[in-house]
Amino acid sequence: MLEWRRRREPSRAMLYLSPLIAIALTMVTGAMVFTAMGYDGLTAVFDFFLVPFLEPHRWPDLGVKAAPLVMIALGLAIGFRANVWNIGAEGQYIMGAIAGTGVALATYEMSGWWILPAMALAGILGGMAWAAVPALLRVRLQVSEILTSLMLTYVAVQVLYYLVRGPWKDPDGFNFPQTRMFTADQTLPVVIPETLVHLGIPLALVIAVIAWLVLEKTTAGYAVKVVGLAPAAARHGGFSAERTTWVTLLIGGGLAGLAGIFEAAGPFSQLTPQFPVGYGFTAIIVAFLGRLHPLGIVLGGVVLAATYVGGEIAQTTVRLPQAATGMFQAMLLFFLLATDVLVRYRIAFSARPAKVVSR
C-alpha cells in the first residue's frame, strides 16, 4: 500500500532534489505525450533539453535567452519571499521596453555614450511605474496584487500595439507595424565579438550576486524574509509590511523593465508586435525552479532558456509545433509544484495498516 506520511522536518535534500525530479518527470512525460501524438518523442525531448547544452555554438543563444529570464525572476523571487505575488512581470517588461524606446526615438538624431544609460534608466522607471499601481492598490485598498498585476499586463500589450501601429510607426517602414531600427548608440554592445553575447548577460550575473548579498547580508534582505515568514514578528521587530510591499514590487518592476529595454535594445533593435514572448511569465517558473534563491535562479534561467532554444531546434528536426515550448514549460511548473509535496511528506510503502488493538 502506498501512503503519504508527513515528515517531522521539511527535508533539505528534497528542497534541492525536487526541481531535478520535476525536470526528469517533464522529460519522460514529454517523450510519452509526443510519441502518442505521432512525433518522434525521444528525439524531441533530446533536442529540447540536451542539444542546447551539447552544441557549443548554441551557448550564446542560451545566454541571450537566459539573461532576461534571470533578471526578471530575481525581482520576482524577492517579492515572493515577502509574500508579494507579482505575476504581471510581463507587463512591466513591456512597459520598460516602451519607456526605453521612447528615449531612443526622442534621441534618434543624436549621438553620445549617455543615450544607452538613459534608455536603461527609462526602462527601469517604466517597469517600476507599472508595478507601482498594484503596490498602491494593495497598500491603500488591500486589493490583491495577483489580479491587478496580471490585468495590467494586457493593458501593456495593448499600449504596445497602439504605439507601433500608430504614433511610433517607422515612417520609412513600408507601413509595417514597427518602430525605427535603433542606432549604434542605442543598441547594447556585444561583449564577445562575433557572437550574440551582449552586455545584458554579464549584467544578469552581477545582479544575481548583488541580490544574493542583499538577501543574506543586509537588514533589507532580512526584512523581506521576516515579512514573508512571520508578519507579526516583522511588526514586532520594527519592519513595515507596507514598505516591503512597495520596495519589492518596485524592484520586481524595475528589473523586469530593465530586461525589457535590454531585449529591445539587444536582440530586437526595435519594437514590434512580436516583442512580448512571455519571458515575464516564464520567469515565474524560473523563480520557483531556482527555489527563490538568486544562484538557483541563474541555473533555472538557463534550463528554461533551453526550452526556447530547444523549441526552435525541435521545430526543424521533428517538426514539433511552436506551442510545444509552452507545453514543456507548463509541464515543468506542474511537476515542480507537485514534487514540492515531497519536501513535507514522504511516500511510505507499507502493507501494514495502522495497528490498533480493538477494545
Partner: protein
C-alpha cells in the same frame, strides 16, 4: 466500561512505558524512559525545560513516534501511529495551545474536533450531560471569542470527556488560569480520576502538583531520575530533584532606590482591532527607574493590546500619550522606540517574539539590532550576531545545540529564556514584558526573575504583565489590574492580599459590571 476503583490492585496498569527513547538532531529528548500509570491515578510528569516531557506525551498521544521502546495499554502491547489511533484507545489530550475557532460557538467547535460525525441534537444532549455530571459551567451556544481562557480550556476537556477517555493528558494546563480557575479545574480532574480515568499531568508549578497528584515521575535531560509521592515531598526538594542541584533563592536587590519617572503613559486609548480585539480605555500609569510595576489580569482583557501600543506595533494618535525619558514617543514606530530605550516582549513566542524558521542568531537580529551594533548601516555583521546570541545562550542557560539551531527546535521554555535574554541583554531603559516565565521551569524562572530584578536595580524601569499572581507578588513593587481594557491605579504590593487581587482579576471578567466601575473592590 471504566474500571471501578476497588479492583485496582488486580487490574493491570492502564499504561506501561518501557525503554522509550527519542532523538532529535543533536539531543536525546527521551532516553530509556520507563514507568507505569494505574487506573484512576493522577500522575505528574516533572522536569526542567527541555527535559523531554512534551516529547514523551506526544509519543503517547501518537503525534510523534518513539525511536525505540514499547507501550502497553491495559496489559496489551500497542503501537500508536496517530492521534486518531490514540483516541480510539481512549487517550485524550489537552494541549497548552488550544485549537479553537474564535468565531464559532462552543458546540460547533466540539463537533469539529470529533472523529466521527455526530448528529447535532444528539451531540447537544451528550455535551449537556457531560457538563452536568462534572458541574462544568459552560454555555454551549456562546461564541468562543467571548470566553475566558479557563472556559476555553473547558471546551477542550469536554471534547476529551465525550470520548469517555481512560487516560487524559494535560500539558501545562494552568499556566494561564487564575487561582480560582485552577481550583475549579482541580475539582473536575479529581472527579474524572475518581471514575477510573488516569491523568498524566505536566506542570512547572510544584505546589499544584502537591495538591493534585498521587505520584510524580521526574525527568532530567530525557531520563527518569526519580519517582516520588508529591504529597510527602516539599516543593523545594522536588525542584532540586529536577535540576539536580540546589535551588537559588531570588535576592531582592531593589530596596527602595526608586528614581526618576522613565515611562509615563497618560490617557492612552486605542480601538481594539476587529473582530475580537479589546479596546484600551484611558490607560494611565508611570514606571520609575529602579522599580518593577506589575500588571495583573485575566487573559483577553487588553494585555496584548497594551503591549502592542507600548511596543509601537500600533501607534497612538496622541504623541504624548506615551512619554519615554521625557520624550513623546506615542506616534513613533517600534524601531524608534527601541532605539530610545523601550523594549517589549509579547506573550506569544512563535511568530511574534521570534520567527520559528529562523536560527537563534537570526532571531537575535530581529529586535537587538537597534541598540547593539549588529547591523551598522544595514549590513549584518554575522560574527557579532553569533557572539551576542551565544552570550544570551550562555547567560540564560538556554539548552540548544548552538546559535545556528532553528528557534522551532527549542522546547517552549528554552525559547522563552532566549527571548528574555535577548531583551535583557540589550539593557533597555524601560522593559515591558508579558508572561516573562511562561512555561519556564522553576530554576530558570528564578533566573529570569533575578535578571529582571537586577535590571531594575541598575536603574531601568520594568513593567511585568502576567497572570501568575505569585510571580507578580514576588517581583513587583506596585501592582495594577487590567480588566476590559481599563487599568486600575497601581497600589503598593505590601498593602494587597492575594485573595483580593484574585477576585479583582477573576470575579469580574465577563460578569455584568457597571460601566466605569473601578475594578478593585
Amino acid at each position: 466500561m471504566t474500571a471501578s476503583p476497588h479492583d485496582r490492585t488486580d487490574t493491570p496498569p492502564r499504561l506501561v512505558l518501557s525503554g522509550i527513547s527519542k532523538s532529535f538532531p543533536g539531543v536525546k529528548a527521551n532516553d530509556d524512559i520507563s514507568f507505569s500509570v494505574k487506573p484512576g491515578e493522577i500522575h505528574a510528569l516533572l522536569g526542567e525545560n527541555g527535559a523531554g516531557k512534551s516529547t514523551l506525551v506526544k509519543i503517547i498521544y501518537g503525534v510523534q513516534q518513539a525511536d525505540s521502546g514499547d507501550i502497553s495499554w491495559d496489559g496489551k502491547p500497542v503501537s500508536i501511529p496517530s492521534p486518531k489511533a490514540a483516541r480510539r484507545l481512549g487517550i485524550g489530550m489537552v494541549f497548552q495551545h488550544f485549537s479553537l475557532f474564535d468565531a464559532m460557538t462552543v458546540i460547533e467547535n466540539i463537533a469539529l474536533g470529533l472523529d466521527e460525525a455526530v448528529d447535532r441534537d444528539e451531540l447537544k444532549t451528550r455535551v449537556a450531560k457531560v457538563l452536568q455530571s462534572y458541574s462544568l459551567p459552560l454555555d454551549p451556544e456562546r461564541e468562543v471569542h467571548t470566553l475566558s481562557v479557563g472556559e476555553r480550556q473547558r471546551i477542550e476537556i469536554v471534547r476529551c470527556l465525550l470520548q469517555k477517555p481512560k487516560l487524559l493528558i494535560m500539558d501545562e494546563p494552568t499556566s494561564v488560569l487564575t487561582p480560582q480557575e485552577v481550583e475549579r479545574l482541580f475539582e473536575t480532574l479529581r472527579q474524572i480520576a475518581s471514575e477510573g480515568c488516569s491523568i498524566l499531568y505536566i506542570s512547572h508549578k510544584l505546589h499544584e502538583i502537591k495538591a493534585l497528584c498521587d505520584t510524580a515521575t521526574i525527568l532530567r535531560a530525557g531520563r527518569v531520575v526519580a519517582t516520588c509521592d508529591p504529597r510527602q515531598e516539599t516543593t523545594r526538594r522536588m525542584a532540586e530533584l529536577m535540576i539536580g542541584a540546589e535551588l537559588r533563592q531570588i535576592e531582592n536587590a531593589h530596596s527602595g532606590r526608586i528614581g526618576k519617572r522613565r515611562l509615563i503613559v497618560s490617557g492612552l486609548s486605542l480601538h481594539g482591532e476587529p473582530p475580537f480585539g479589546t479596546s484600551l480605555r484611558d490607560i494611565s500609569f508611570e514606571a520609575r527607574a529602579g522599580e518593577i510595576l506589575g500588571i495583573a489580569g485575566v487573559a483577553g482583557n487588553g494585555q496584548a493590546e497594551l503591549l502592542g501600543a507600548l511596543s509601537g506595533e500600533r501607534l497612538s494618535a496622541v504623541p504624548n500619550a506615551i512619554m519615554l525619558d521625557g520624550k513623546s514617543v506615542g506616534s513613533e514606530g517600534a524601531g524608534e522606540r527601541r532605539s530610545a530605550g523601550l523594549a517589549c516582549v509579547p506573550e506569544e513566542r512563535n511568530g511574534h517574539a521570534a520567527v520559528p524558521d529562523f536560527s537563534l542568531a537570526e532571531n537575535a537580529i530581529l529586535t537587538a539590532r537597534y541598540r547593539l551594533p549588529l547591523a551598522p548601516r544595514g549590513f549584518i555583521r554575522l560574527g557579532a550576531v553569533r557572539r551576542f546570541a551565544q552570550a544570551v545562550i550562555g547567560r540564560f542557560d538556554v539548552r540548544t545545540t548552538g546559535p545556528g539551531s532553528p528557534a522551532r527546535s527549542l522546547s517552549g521554555g528554552n525559547l522563552q529564556k532566549f527571548i528574555m535574554g535577548r531583551e535583557i541583554g540589550q539593557e533597555p531603559g524601560v522593559l515591558v514584558v508579558s508572561q516573562p516565565t511562561w512555561g519556564v521551569d522553576a530554576g530558570a524562572a528564578a533566573a529570569i526573575r533575578q535578571a529582571l530584578v537586577d535590571l531594575a536595580a541598575k536603574g531601568s524601569a520594568v513593567v511585568v504583565i502576567s497572570q501568575d499572581l505569585d510571580e507578580l507578588l514576588e517581583l513587583a513593587d506596585r501592582l495594577s489590574v487590567i480588566n476590559e481594557g481599563r487599568l486600575s491605579p497601581p497600589r503598593p504590593v505590601a498593602e494587597l492580599a492575594i485573595d483580593e487581587i484574585g477576585l479583582m482579576m477573576g470575579g469580574i471578567h465577563g460578569a455584568a459590571q457597571p460601566e466605569g466601575a473601578p475594578p478593585h473592590a
